[in-house]
Subunit: 212 residues, 2 copies
DNA sequence: TGTACATCAGTGAACGCGCGTTCACTGATGTAC
DNA sequence: TGTACATCAGTGAACGCGCGTTCACTGATGTAC
């Protein structure tokens, strides 16, 4: 007699095994994103790197968009604790430190940055997935809020965070491919510009506090 | 006897006619870019809108990349005079005005923004074309330099311009597609964030002047 | 203990489509003589 | 003035490729009895 429950009694892969394979596929997707320009990323390469057939990916993810967004969510969620950990204490230069962590994280894990811009620029995204992307963005903005408040900002903190977030993203996109520069030179330039940004935000917060 | 000059005597389209058709193709490319997500833009649609066969485009442009970059250069070069015209006099709120012009220009002519991000993110670009793109970027940065100097900045003006440029680009990319918002709401939010950015740059320049 | 069967992970090849680009061709016009 | 020819704008169809996704199938394993 067949089971009448929702879980099929015949499932031979238990949850751990399924999860392990899922992770392996996401690992492969990340590696391919890290290696190639994001419009060259494709399912065949991901499957090959994961050591499986392309068709098998579709037993774990309904389509490419889901896979990409799951991969992004898994990786990008590590950024939030990293920010959280360093905002603990108010200190001079905190904003610069946070800016550097943000920039460093997204240049060292270029795959997340590529995925992020992919979603920002592409057409329609599944509603649920969009909401999860928004949740990540809000978490990052929340961290920035905390940072600005620790540094003494009181007025329109969210506005500052939005501006800060946009400015850092802009650095990553604008100076990503400066011709004739090595990877290190690009990173160095980004950090330079990030310091300028951090400095003027710092200055803004300070002078706001002084006006009070 | 055949002509021994470089210009073929048989050319039936004179330079004006050729240029007119070239412009018409670029017009069509712009219109398609304005209408569709940039990864849906294709040569067939451009040809159809221009009222010609796809094959004819290749008599005017060697390939798609050249067409796109020429289109971008033609359109984006109008931004520089627009900025130039409004930086004439130093006045309070100048930075905000310039930020608004930049944002407005690239939201009202969304096609240029799409092309710009296209080039920033895609793989290899022809060297000559890259140099022309860089020239445009430098012109914009030069305008920002002028603006900051008029407002009293003296130290590391180019650094400010780089940061300002990145921040404005970041606004355009980050807040482009906020789900459930109308086009007007998106634009309004962008202008709000741009005002925050402008304000803190203004503050930075002023306090730099005061420290002197 | 053995056998027929159900279930499911996994596969390689194929489907279908979109798209950049090229090909072979047409037809109009100017030139040589 | 007429005719053969060269030149070039322009075309529709085809080529070739990449890629997301699906299909028909295999084989291993657990179950029913």
């Amino acid at each position: 007699m067949l089971s009448d429950g929702k879980k099929n009694v015949f499932a031979r892969l238990n949850d751990d095994q399924r999860q392990a394979r899922r992770d392996a596929i996401i690992d492969a997707a990340e590696a391919i994103f890290a290696e190639k320009p994001f419009n060259k990323v494709n399912m065949r390469d991901i499957a090959r790197l994961a050591g499986i057939s392309p068709a098998l990916i579709y037993r774990y993810f309904p389509n490419q968009q889901h896979l990409f967004i799951e991969a992004f969510l898994r990786g990008a969620s590590d950024l939030v604790p990293a920010l959280d950990g360093c905002i603990g204490t108010a200190e001079p230069g905190l904003i610069e430190k946070v800016a550097r962590i943000f920039i460093t994280y997204l240049t060292e894990h270029e795959q997340y940055f590529k995925m992020m811009t992919h979603f920002m620029l592409e057409g329609s995204i599944n509603e649920d997935l969009q909401e999860r992307l928004n949740a990540i963005e809000r978490s990052v903005l929340d961290q920035f809020d905390r940072m600005f408040m620790k540094m003494g900002a009181r007025k329109d903190v969210r506005g500052l965070s939005h501006a800060f977030f946009a400015a850092l993203n802009g650095i990553l996109i604008t100076y990503r491919r400066h011709p004739g520069r090595t990877v290190d030179e690009v990173r160095e330039h980004m950090e330079l510009v990030a310091r300028v940004i951090a400095r003027i935000f710092e200055n803004e917060v300070q002078s706001e506090a002084m006006r009070k």
